[in-house]
Symmetry: C2
Subunit: 329 residues, 2 copies
Amino acid sequence: MSTIQTSLSEIADALRPAQRIAIAAHVRPDGDALGSVMGLALSLRAMGKTVYALLEDGVPLNLAFLPETVTILTPPYADFEVDVALALDTATHERVGEHTKAALARAPLLIDIDHHPTNPGYGHLNHVDGTQPAVGQIIYELLKAGGFPITDAVMQHLYTAISTDTGSFQYSSTNARTHHIAGEMLAAGLDSSRLAQLLYQTYPARRLQLLRAMLNEMDFRAEGRIASWQFTRALMDEVQVQPGDTEGMIDTLRMIDSVVTAVIFEEMADGKIRVSARSKDQRLDVSAVCGQFGGGGHRLASGARMKGPIQEAAETFLTALEHEVRRLA
Amino acid sequence: MSTIQTSLSEIADALRPAQRIAIAAHVRPDGDALGSVMGLALSLRAMGKTVYALLEDGVPLNLAFLPETVTILTPPYADFEVDVALALDTATHERVGEHTKAALARAPLLIDIDHHPTNPGYGHLNHVDGTQPAVGQIIYELLKAGGFPITDAVMQHLYTAISTDTGSFQYSSTNARTHHIAGEMLAAGLDSSRLAQLLYQTYPARRLQLLRAMLNEMDFRAEGRIASWQFTRALMDEVQVQPGDTEGMIDTLRMIDSVVTAVIFEEMADGKIRVSARSKDQRLDVSAVCGQFGGGGHRLASGARMKGPIQEAAETFLTALEHEVRRLA
Ligand SMILES: [Mn+2]
Ligand SMILES: [Mn+2]
């Protein structure tokens, strides 16, 4: 393992001779995870390589419309052999999932490409750039650096990665290059408005049921500066929640004008509580609060896992968060 | 009047010698109207010119945060004299409003810059480009063509114009140049995420109260293909609704995957019921259904006014709509 930063052209050089490549991303994949994996996979396949795209938790329903997602593998994995493995958008090696981690270990070379600044560099080669809004943007630069093919299907995945991880170019992580890349894709013929419609303007009735529950049950503290919601297994069962249904719900809490920080507590199958926290104020570092409970992430977007029951986890976390919020002003 | 297309560098040449300039846009201004007027106005003011920014209906609350909006004039206008007048983002001359049209008539030269393809070219000079997603994008190109100053305040207005008229770069009107311009603005130091936060990611708690009420009370018919909601005066009073609070709520109903048509019934102060109807299916013409009740509009977006009480109006309208929906399949 080495934490020396490897350039994208060096990574391209390492990929060029490889014939069999495995690519994975984090559990519970979002648009950036899936889009980065498939964007890179489809470019390498267009070069004639055999590419295994691995997602421990499979394809979220809302992203299944993207090209070739049927080729994504889920555990149990067959006994394939690979020359190189890549983990994308995954802050710690464990976050690829247990089976996927074992599958990646079959490769003599592991490449870690990420934009989570807390990523320790767990690969043999590491490219961790916390200034990039999406790993999809890094993958685009990698394809450019290597002269690798950028087909329409590749663009669909990378545009999805970039658009979803920037909230449609709205988050502060968006940089000039983000727009220039989107502009290059449109100039190359990408139908970005079709993607936007499929990503943002269509949702199942289940999602409205969840939104309704959240609006009915949300809790405010610290004069409305903290908004939170406890997403229980009882509700998950009631609405028969599917992966992707909760995407962006925390933003609805965050958007309320009085709110500085929004938190969702989610009861997982193993009884643990997944905490997702967002901040709207650079002075309020939610990754520090998540760090108190063994979690981490970005300053304005972080997570942690806590012991249940959910009410106790919420109370403990919100008390710590309120302490930080009250220090602001 | 001439409908010969004047190039942006010719328009820049016409503006350069002018010392006193009036700039207006359409009544009920949106982000593109206000942002285009003020983006151009602030650039010309930075060149030392006297610029009158005219909006018949004044500044919408949600855009008042933008730079120098306090300098926008509303009727009655003082008796200023101008060398050149411009109408921006305004498809017909009348749409600037009555007082504003009279004020623009004081100039010996009227310049019409627009992106509505139906614009007949009512100026002495006209630049109408229906391929552009926002007049703000045309104004940016005008400033570039003329070498006019593009300050941070100018960028704030033009970014707002472009972003709001493209639905944050999601509509099909978005082109490669749209992204390249946004990229240039970010490279020049524009804080676009602050603007996005103020434009899209901030809403009053009132708005969530309305959304919660809608999600709790919405009604489905025809196997979920019709979604509707009755927005009563009792609720309006309870949440103390303000103009703009209900913006886009019908889209939330429309986005549900099963839904083909969405309708909101709104109880008005005079006891009449305002009906807003949307269709997602070209075969379902909601303007025909609205026409049965004296209303009309477009095939996919229409309205009508009906006699109260609201429950009876809804029942009558939905029965007629369901009849049409059941003919589809
Ligand atoms: Mn990411
Ligand atoms: Mn416009």
